[in-house]
């Protein structure tokens, strides 16, 4: 009995320490999760920041379109977006995007559709989220399932078609903490959205042994999985998605 109580106490203490060390970002309302306020120069130029909603865009395009074919970095406000660039067919104004033909362009009546102070989504976009398979965290949408079931059919390219990815190696990684199940990384679910070069070699470079620093503390600082899974892809609160009890 004493042993059981001690084991329970130690487990609770370990969990408490882990929770204290892993400071998760605050939870946003589901319709605001993944919505960015882009403000590199907007306020300096006396304009409202541009609001970019990932959940609206990812229904129409996979991540690789914007983060490989179009020149958007993963980290907000690090891409040198300019109004002139947008109007000249770069960034948001790339042909097939906000070029005034495929979707509304960068002319006067449309400015306020992106340049606004609030992250709040339109009702039709909130309703569109509600129709997708549910998840407990983030947008409360299971995007992987939505894609697999064909609820959404995002375009995988604008101009550069790619062969279907056949690499579906599933990695299993030992957790550093006692009582924490191993982490799994399925390539297949990721390459449905991303290009290989989105992650390799810059974010994950096994050759340079960066994975020896592959710890939750670093991930929560925005490295490795944290590049996407803190702000856009399902958040870290969803422990069991990566650390399932059964492999």
């Amino acid at each position: 009995m004493r042993r059981a109580v001690l084991a329970l106490f130690l487990t609770a203490a370990a969990a408490g320490t882990a929770a204290a060390q892993w400071q998760l970002p605050e939870n946003l309302p589901p319709e605001e999760y993944g919505t960015l306020l882009i403000d590199r120069t907007a306020t300096l130029n006396k304009a409202a920041p541009a609001v970019f909603s990932h959940h609206v865009h990812r229904r129409k395009h996979t991540c690789r379109v914007c983060h490989f074919e179009v020149e958007f970095n993963f980290k907000v406000n690090t891409t040198e977006i300019t109004e002139a660039g947008n109007k000249g067919g770069r960034f948001c104004g790339t042909a097939g995007c906000h070029d005034g033909k495929a979707v509304f362009g960068h002319d006067e009546p449309n400015c306020g559709r992106c340049h606004r102070e609030s992250r709040k989504a339109d009702k039709k976009d909130i309703d569109a989220l509600a129709a997708l398979p549910r998840n407990r965290f983030g947008n409360k949408v299971n995007w992987v399932k939505a894609l697999e079931r064909g609820d959404i059919k995002p375009a995988t390219h604008l101009t550069l078609p790619q062969a279907d990815m056949t690499f579906d190696k599933r990695l299993v990684l030992e957790a550093n903490w006692n009582n924490i199940p191993m982490a799994v990384f399925p390539h297949r679910e990721h390459v449905a959205w991303l290009d290989c070069n989105n992650c390799h070699p810059d974010i994950f470079n096994i050759k340079k042994k960066t994975t020896k620093h592959f710890a939750m503390t670093r991930i929560l600082q925005g490295e490795f999985c944290g590049v996407c899974h803190l702000t856009v892809a399902f958040p870290m609160d969803d422990c069991k998605r990566c650390h399932p009890k059964k492999l």
């Binding site: 020149e71 062969a163 056949t166 290009d195 290989c196 390799h200 050759k207």
Partner: protein, 105 residues
């Protein structure tokens, strides 16, 4: 006699002007489409990188290096966009190539 000579000179001049206008057009058509086709062909294989052999990966890295100077000569917008993308492709091919060579040791 003199008018024939003037006419010949004019015809010659016109021919030279036409030639001068045609040569850059042909050159730009070759250069213009050429780099883009090569870019699409190289970077259209990134999702298959893991299944490519080391020789093919090495060839792709070399092709990236050969294409880079052509892209550096493009206008500002295209240069910025495509140099970044070319670098992403090259880095991936180099990474997979090195990983495969390491595995083979």
């Amino acid at each position: 006699m003199r008018s024939v000579s003037i006419r010949r000179s004019l015809v010659l001049l016109a021919s030279l002007v036409l030639l001068a206008m045609t040569v850059p057009a042909v050159h730009s058509a070759e250069g213009g489409d050429g780099w883009r086709k090569e870019f699409d062909d190289i970077c259209g294989k990134t999702m298959a990188a893991q299944s490519l052999g080391t020789e093919e990966l090495g060839r792709l890295v070399d092709r990236c290096d050969k294409l880079k100077p052509q892209i550096e000569n493009l206008g500002e917008s295209e240069r910025k966009v495509y140099l970044r993308r070319l670098k992403m492709c090259r880095d991936l091919y180099r990474y997979v190539l090195d990983s495969k060579r390491e595995e083979a040791k």
